[in-house]
């Protein structure tokens, strides 16, 4: 039982991975859910655990896509090497972007990440010879997962690739959960709750923010690489403002209280997007309205809403809050 509660989020992640193939008929859609769940996890580590609202997650997603694409196209590296390279590039870029934007706090930080995101977009757009500009990087191969020419996991069909991504997802989720539960994660929470206090206690706030940023960049880079390999293209759209915006929105809609909420948010975003965009191409308007509702009425996101509902459904025991008793006695 103790073990069960200790690993409950990892078990939820595994359950998600197993449930998606039952619920969805399209392997690529299921894979997309997991990929964006990874990107959203990276964003959640910043927003939920460090209190940094980054509008630059698209930078790392896009760089991850390009890195994986270029290394697979020109160097024919093995699958895992391409993913690792994307993570390293994502982490390095995040360290640079973070170093520049952490100099300012609060709202300035959000503005800076957005502006730097635009900078990377125009950089990718300008370097057409490397990135393919508007068309993106085309014909990216999808190698199998193999060691010394022995195939461990085939990735040819969409569901086979889903299996591989699912494995990566569960491992990454468990690792990020470990980070969040570690002393590092608790320190980040302390910084989120009160930056001045954390600094007064003696924590090097900027360094911790930078560490969070670097981890987030690595995860998002990984997601970008998996995405490029999924669709066979590293599109310009993955480094665009819209990519950063979507990642942030799915994170917020899911909720920032814990990491699994991001999986919910990404799932809702990707699946609702897939379903609604066939019904009504302007479904983003509904998303805008949802965003307004979330910021006005359900500030803890879907996860918070769910927790509230469960709390309300639980049988009422003796009221713990003494003020509640008082109110009952004198109506």
């Amino acid at each position: 039982m103790n073990l069960l509660t200790h690993y409950r989020y990892t078990l939820l992640a595994i359950a998600t991975v197993l449930l998606l193939p039952v619920m969805l008929s399209s392997g690529s859609l299921a894979t997309e859910v997991l990929i964006f769940a990874l990107a959203s996890l990276g964003c959640n580590l910043l927003l939920g655990y460090t209190g940094l609202m980054s509008f630059g997650q698209g930078i790392f997603l896009g760089l991850g896509s390009y890195t994986a694409g270029l290394s697979l196209l020109h160097m024919r590296v093995p699958l895992l090497v391409a993913l690792l390279a994307a993570m390293v590039v994502g982490a390095v870029a995040a360290a640079a972007v973070g170093w520049l934007s952490i100099r300012r706090r609060g709202i300035y930080f959000a503005l800076l990440t957005l502006a730097l995101g635009q900078m990377f977009y125009f950089l990718a757009y300008t370097l057409k010879d490397i990135t393919g500009g508007d068309n993106g990087l085309l014909n990216i191969p999808r190698p199998q997962l193999s060691v010394f020419n022995t195939t461990l996991l085939p990735t040819a069909t969409q569901w086979q690739y889903y299996g591989f991504v699912a494995l990566v997802f569960v491992v990454a989720f468990t690792l990020i959960q470990r980070v969040a539960d570690s002393v590092l994660g608790r320190t980040l929470l302390a910084i989120r709750d009160n930056e001045t206090r954390a600094a007064a206690i003696g924590y090097n706030v900027k360094l911790f923010k930078l560490i969070a940023f670097t981890i987030s960049g690595a995860i998002t880079g990984l997601a970008g690489a998996l995405y490029a390999i999924l669709i066979g293209v590293a599109p310009l759209s993955s480094i665009e403002y819209q990519a950063s915006e979507s990642i942030l929105i799915m994170t917020v809609i899911g909720g920032t209280g814990n990491l699994f909420a991001s999986v919910l948010g990404a799932g809702l975003y990707v699946l609702a997007g897939d379903w609604l965009s066939t019904l009504w191409p302007r479904w983003l308007m509904l998303l805008g309205i949802l965003l307004i509702v979330v910021s006005l009425y359900m500030q803890k996101g879907l996860w918070g809403l769910g927790a509230q509902l469960i709390d309300r459904l639980k049988p009422r025991r003796a009221p713990r809050d003494p003020s509640a008793v008082k109110r009952k006695q004198n109506p």
């Binding site: 927003l47 609202m53 520049l100 100099r103 300012r104 609060g106 709202i107 300035y108 959000a110 503005l111 800076l112 957005l114 502006a115 730097l116 995101g117 635009q118 900078m119 125009f122 950089l123 300008t126 403002y241 819209q242 915006e245 929105i249 917020v252 302007r282 983003l284 308007m285 998303l287 805008g288 309205i289 949802l290 965003l291 307004i292 979330v294 910021s295 006005l296 500030q299």
Partner: protein, 285 residues
Amino acid sequence: MSIYLLQIINGIGIGMLYFLMSVGLSIIFGLLGFVNFAHGAFFMLGAYICFEISGSALGFWWALILVPLIVGAFAWLTEKFLLRYIYQLPHGFHILLTLGVALVLQEAVIVWWGPIGKEIAPPALLEGVVVLGSFVYPIYRLFVIAFTALMALLLWWLLDGTRLGSIVRAGSESTEMVSLLGININRIISLIFTLGTGIAGMAGALAAPIRGAEPFMGVEALGIAFVVVVTGGMGSFGGALGGGLLIGIVQSLMSTIWPEGAHLMIYVAMAAVMLLRPSGLFGRG
């Protein structure tokens, strides 16, 4: 006349437009500590309403008068029914709510006018070019420089020479103190939000004959407005003017030196300023 001088004139024109686009964002931030992520969407709305009015019997001149009023009315409603309820929340929710408003506006524009951009002709009076030495220059762009300069003077007078201006500047120091002095700060906030956003709409209308109107120009405008206020320093009139001009001239000069990288260099300039002076060129502290 050297090409660089011409590009500097051009850059002043672009910069003044950038100033007009960002000044509202900056003043609202100064007063409320609030950043409106829908600011670019209101700029885009201004361009589209300009397209609609200048294509009708009223023409471009009426558009220039009506657009700020209409966009201002939209902004006033947004403030009254949405923003007012979230001022006390952490700034993350300000961002999310206005992001939602921006998405709704962007999609509404696509529903109304379609996803393909619109061209807007400059008014007949300002069509054509003037000859400057060995170069030709569109008259409309000269008009934009003159008109935006006039607007900047008006705004400067409003903020520096009137009672409202002193209240706004005092509010930037402490809204609480201002309301303790018996001033209805909520009305001032509502007024300034309407005014600042209406000006962004006017910038959209002015920019429309130069760059057309398309649904995603709002995001681009928002990015540039952020660069302007971050470079110039946030919360002040001077910061928006200085930042706007600097960014406009950088963009314009770079478009002769390295055309593909002109947009990229705006952001590089911002990054450089951030490294040297994190509070912006004209920012305090």
